[in-house]
């Protein structure tokens, strides 16, 4: 199989860490894509996938910390990462702005993630060679 010329991917993660393999599969795929010289244009967390953005996730030290691994990956490759606002708010994923707006006491979504709507996402899919969904397997 010949390697195709460099392309760009938009990745949608709809499965949560620890209840699905989606964040792990997506990270392995994204790392392989970058190793092959391709680009990841955008990561979009949707549905239960927004749990990946939580700064408050504190897994045991002998387990993979998927939120931390994803955060490092996104930051080291400077990939825009977006949490769907409608998915995030109803699951208790809030940045500072939303936390103030809803008068909550904490904010668990910080950079590199931004909470945004579907418009920004749509634009990035139009500029990517492929859009792939990493859905839960259940």
């Amino acid at each position: 199989m010949d390697s195709p010329p460099p392309q760009s991917f938009a990745l949608v993660i709809t499965g949560a860490p620890y209840s699905s393999q989606a964040p792990q599969t997506a990270l392995n795929f994204a790392e392989a894509a970058i190793r092959a010289g391709h680009k990841v244009n955008q990561v979009f967390l949707y549905g239960d996938g927004v749990h990946l953005a939580s700064n408050f996730a504190s897994p045991p030290s002998d387990e993979s910390d998927w939120p931390a691994l994803w955060r490092v990956f996104i930051e080291s490759h400077q990939i825009p990462a977006t949490c769907c606002v409608a998915s995030a708010l109803r699951r208790g994923l809030l940045d500072e702005t939303e936390s103030r707006r809803y008068e909550k006491t904490g904010a668990n979504v910080t950079a590199p993630y931004a909470i945004a709507g579907l418009g920004e996402w749509l634009e990035s899919t139009l500029n990517s060679s492929r859009t792939l969904y990493f859905n839960p397997d259940h």
Binding site: Q21, E31, A36, D137, H138
Partner: protein, 93 residues
Amino acid sequence: MPQLHLLNKVADHPRFTQCLNQTHAGDSIALTESGVLALPTGIDWPEGVVIYALSADLEARGLGPLELPPFVHVIGYEQLVDLTLSTDKVVCW
């Protein structure tokens, strides 16, 4: 137009059947995650469809070469990336 189907569901999941029903000769199916568990069960795959399986997920589920039908192509993530770019459309089930 050839399509690549990324299938991560077990064989008794409704989407597994939907995927097989919407797969045509010339398409490819890449089995990932729990999708690889369908391989030893002897199900009827659509004719003219190339079947791939992700090696990391086979290994994680204890499926070795002896449990796999001979027509399966075992691939790594690098080849999966190439596959997604070599077909016109990717369907994620």
